[in-house]
Assembly symmetry: C2
Homo-oligomer: 112 residues x 2
């Protein structure tokens, strides 16, 4: 069966900045309140997840995630209001693109 | 500056089948009437382009490109009417996705 697949992301000065991976990480941090739990669920090392959060925070005007100090692997993580807004906007665009692609059956029809 | 980038392609049973690369190859074959010229313009080896054409023709119900025999590197290549239709449908969807993304300034605004 043929199917149209779409991937989108936000670039900053030509560098990938926000896409499916960061969006999933932010959602899991928001749900779990913990960077290590979020990373674990995505089979990502704590270090890689930590670096991703640093990069997101550096590229955005305000931090998207706040890491709290304390204990092993930090004392919890919190997605900021701007971070939550970004998740919403990202998923809203995802939905619109999915709807558009679902309507475009012509390409699939021609390919059969 | 932040920018939303989108990539889309058609999968056949989970395998990438038609995307930006095949679309460009088909367009160049149609313009040049030659697989080797089209491949050369894309810095693709003749062999790789030939294999791509075989794969496209196998996955589609009818051939998208007809390779004519004769001479070195074949006697020319022709995109079939169905192949031309696919180029059109693909670029029409590309345009619609681009328009949708251009309207979605909220995500960029939030990220600043």
């Amino acid at each position: 069966m043929k199917k149209i697949k779409v991937k989108f992301w936000v670039e900053d000065e030509g560098e990938k900045f926000y896409g499916p991976g960061p969006n999933e990480l932010l959602k899991r941090i928001n749900k779990e309140g913990s960077l290590s739990k979020a990373a674990g669920q995505m089979n990502m090392s704590y270090r890689k997840a930590w670096e991703l959060v640093q990069r997101l925070n550096q590229h955005a005007e305000v931090p998207l995630v706040i890491l709290k100090k304390g204990g092993q692997h930090g004392g919890g993580a919190e997605v900021t209001p701007v971070g939550l807004e970004i998740i919403n906007e990202y998923e809203s665009l995802q939905k619109k693109i999915d709807e558009l692609v679902d309507q475009q059956t012509d390409l699939i029809k021609v390919l059969k």
